[in-house]
């Protein structure tokens, strides 16, 4: 199986470190691209800005998207992903601190595939990451590329 990219959109370096650690501990070996705000995430996805000219045939197999982000927030990133033909079928997992009803509803309304709240206890955090990887990278059949 081809190891595709995981796009981690996360502004907090500690969360980034913990997530990477958890992914590693879950034996997920996919390349991980980290975008530290919404603009960076969109640049990567649409080959703009710092990512201008990147190979657009390669799209992430899973996007872990935080909601609270500088510049362009997670919901806006999600909206743009779903609005564009090139990205609309990508699996997007909202991976965030909050379990506010408002966030859940908006996320699903905009077409999130999954919503996982980051657990405080690291064992649970690890378990959540492991299951996400197992599900979206192994079990789930992605939409065929265009």
């Amino acid at each position: 199986m081809e190891n595709k990219v995981i796009l981690l959109v996360e502004d907090n370096p500690r969360d980034e470190a913990l997530t990477l650690r958890a992914l590693k501990k879950s034996n997920i070996v996919n390349e991980i691209v980290v975008a530290r705000d919404g603009v960076e995430a969109l640049d990567y996805l649409f080959g703009t800005g710092n990512y201008a000219g990147r190979d657009m045939s390669e799209m992430p197999q899973m996007i872990l998207l935080d909601l609270k982000l500088p510049k362009v927030d997670g919901l806006e990133v999600l909206r743009k992903i779903r609005a564009d033909e090139r990205t609309r079928r990508l699996p997007v997992v909202i991976f965030t601190s909050s379990s506010e009803e408002e966030d859940l509803i908006k996320s699903y309304n905009l077409g999130a595939n999954s919503y996982v709240r980051k657990p405080v206890a690291f064992e649970q955090f690890l378990e959540a990451t492991r299951q996400l990887g197992l599900y979206w990278l192994v079990l789930n059949q992605a939409a065929p590329p265009k």
């Binding site: 907090n12 500690r14 969360d15 913990l18 650690r21 909601l67 609270k68 965030t96 601190s97 909050s98 379990s99 506010e100 009803e101 408002e102 980051k118 657990p119 405080v120 206890a121 690291f122 064992e123 955090f125």
Partner: protein, 645 residues
């Protein structure tokens, strides 16, 4: 004296005797000549020998033409034979004098042929062997006329008395004994004639009091008569009716009598009373009447009281200038409505005499005369200033209230938004550092375990569990805030099913526990299902938690009726609590157990209480240490539920 010279006498008395006789004859002749009655003397052959002045006047015949002639010419022909007979039979008697009236009506005959009634007396005298008869005659034509007139008058009076539509009574003045009564009296009083005649008014109890009659008699005696005096009489059936009575004193058979005429004015009086009452009522409402030019024709007491203008000041003035009428619409339009529909209703502003402006509810009615022409306008006004002021005050207060409510709502909305933003921020930002503390502590334990002794590793575990507790605390506080501010959506909720789902979840997360759970079937409530579920999670979660050390743990969820109210309860046989602290149970962050005994944040029951209160219910608990606890709650009562939210 011509009369004396005409008297004829033959005599041969002595000179002295002649002188005496002459004087006596002169005196007699004087008497005869000046007598009011006709005096005629005839001899035995009915030839007239004396005919005085009164006779001349009576028969329209001078003495010269009468003397020496027969008396017959002064007697109507049909009586002549009778008269002859009467005289002769009288002559044969020894009676010197007789009244002729006793023999029946006798008549005289004047020279012009007119007959007339006379009263006569006759006397006879024999002188020198010759009979002389002297008649004294009185013309009674006038008296006869007077008698006729009196008779006719009496007849007319009798008819008038009896046929009068006025109750008439004649009674004795002293004791009121009835002498005559008319039919009207009988009709009105209800008595029969037999019951009344000969009896007294006191016996009939006609006068309501004896003083009433005494007073009338007194008035009559002092004033001579009474006219139109209002009097009360008692009818045969006991009813007292009001009469207008006039009375006079008349003499009958030499006795003073009372004659009264009375009319029954009871109905009129009642009508007057009613009218008076009506007018008094009418006086309460200001009423004015004006002609089509607006000039005031009528201004009652009510109008005077309301506006302060006396009738004499108001009458003749133009209504709307006197009252400075302010119309709600052009006066022409009002006039048009009045003429078209016959009336108009509306609110006007008037200015009183003292300058105060008042608001009146005005009702105008157009009156037409008998020809159907517009005549006058009747205007009835009532002062509604106070009402208008009250209305205005209410409107102002309402506006103020609305304004205040709007302000408060805006404030609340702002506060709510701030709270939401705060909660959101807490939810996102407060948890992240905890997660980091926990995660990096774990990383330290994993990656650097060899550099830390058991004690150091133990400390790091403490750091980790502290961060987890804090995360839980944050979640609970956020839920409490959410329970308070979230919108309520009431619907029918199956509490039994909800409770079962909660217990199933508890069992899943704590698979090793064996708890006997009894959930009563069909427990229904009307409320917000999300909030009610949070409530059950907390109550059943508590029961689950506090029975952890019980070997045969039991939890019951059921319902009782207390005073007609549905009371739900969650009972367990767990650790229980000391009732002395029962009041602390529902406060946020209040705990009756140490964390080492039972973990928890102390927010669960505060959340339960908020949910119950938001549903308009009550929550309380009963328990004993180590003998379990029962939590009771009610939701909005059935009455509130029927009325909806």
């Amino acid at each position: 004296m011509a009369g004396v010279a005409k008297a004829m006498y033959s005599s041969n008395w002595t000179a002295r005797a002649e002188e005496a006789l002459r004087r006596s004859q002169e005196q007699l002749a004087g008497i005869i000549g000046s007598a009011m009655d006709a005096i005629i003397t005839v001899d035995g052959e009915q030839r007239i020998v004396l005919f005085n002045a009164a006779a001349e006047k009576m028969f329209h015949c001078p003495a010269e033409e009468a003397i020496g002639h027969s008396l017959e010419r002064f007697i109507p022909e049909r009586f002549r034979a009778t008269h002859q007979g009467h005289i002769q039979s009288f002559g044969r008697t020894n009676v010197s004098r007789r009244t002729m009236g006793a023999l029946g009506a006798i008549f005289g005959l004047r020279t012009d042929g007119e007959e007339f009634p006379i009263e006569a007396s006759i006397s006879q005298l024999e002188s020198e062997g010759q009979k002389f008869y002297t008649v004294i005659l009185r013309d009674i034509t006038e008296r006869k006329h007077a008698e006729e007139a009196l008779r006719a008058s009496e007849a007319r009076f009798s008819i008038a008395f009896n046929a009068s539509p006025i109750s008439s009574v004649i009674a004795t003045l002293d004791e009121g004994r009835y002498v005559a009564i008319n039919d009207t009296f009988l009709n009105w009083t209800g008595y029969t004639r037999e019951e009344v005649i000969g009896r007294t008014s006191a016996e009939l109890e006609l006068w309501p009091t004896s003083e009433a009659r005494a007073k009338v008699i007194h008035l009559l005696l002092t004033q001579g008569r009474i006219r139109n005096r209002e009097t009360r009489y008692q009818m045969r059936n006991g009813e007292v009716r009001i009469f207008l009575m006039s009375a006079d004193i008349i003499e009958l058979d030499g006795q003073p009598h009372l004659i009264t005429a009375s009319i029954d004015i009871t109905e009129r009086k009642r009508a007057e009373e009613a009218l008076k009452e009506q007018s008094q009522i009418l006086d309460l409402a200001p009423v004015l009447i004006r002609d089509l030019d607006g000039r005031l024709l009528f201004w009652n007491t009510g109008a005077e009281q309301m506006y302060g203008w006396k009738p004499e000041e108001a009458l003749g003035k133009t209504t709307h200038s006197l009252l400075h009428t302010e119309f709600p619409q052009p006066a022409e339009e009002i006039q048009a409505t009045l003429f078209a529909q016959g009336h108009w209703k509306g609110e006007l502003v008037h200015t009183r005499r003292d300058g105060e402006r008042i608001v009146v509810a005005s009702h105008w009615v157009l009156h037409r005369n008998e020809l159907g022409e517009r005549d006058v306008v009747l205007e009835v006004n009532s002062d509604i200033t106070a009402r208008k002021q009250a209305e205005e005050e209410i409107r102002r207060l309402n506006e103020e209230l609305e304004q205040r409510v709007a302000e408060r709502t805006a404030q609340l909305q702002t506060t709510n938004k701030e709270l939401e933003a705060f909660s959101y921020s807490v939810s996102h930002d407060l948890r992240a550092p905890l997660r980091h503390i926990n995660g990096f502590s774990q990383a330290l334990l994993e990656d650097y375990a060899d550099k830390l002794d058991a004690e150091g590793q133990g400390y790091l575990q403490q750091v980790r569990s502290a961060s987890q507790e804090m995360a839980q605390l944050i979640d609970d506080v956020l839920e409490l805030a959410r329970v308070t501010r979230s919108e309520m959506r009431r619907e029918a909720v199956n509490l039994s099913a909800k409770a079962r789902a909660v217990v199933d979840d508890l069992q899943k997360t704590d698979a090793v526990r064996r708890v006997k759970v009894h959930i009563e079937d069909g427990l229904q409530a009307h409320g917000d299902k999300r909030l009610l579920k949070i409530m059950l999670i907390n109550l059943l979660g508590n029961a689950w938690k506090f029975t952890a050390r019980q070997e045969a743990a039991e939890i019951t969820f059921g319902q009782q009726q207390r005073d007609g109210e549905a009371v739900y309860f969650v009972r367990d046989n767990g650790a229980g609590f000391d009732m002395a602290y029962a009041n602390k149970l529902f406060g946020a962050f209040q705990r009756l157990h140490s964390s080492s005994e039972f973990e928890g944040t102390g927010i669960g029951l505060a959340t339960v209480q908020r949910i119950v209160h938001r549903h308009g219910g009550r929550v309380w608990a009963e328990g004993k240490v180590n003998q379990g606890a029962t939590f009771y709650f009610t939701l909005a009562n059935s009455k509130e539920r029927r009325n909806g939210e």
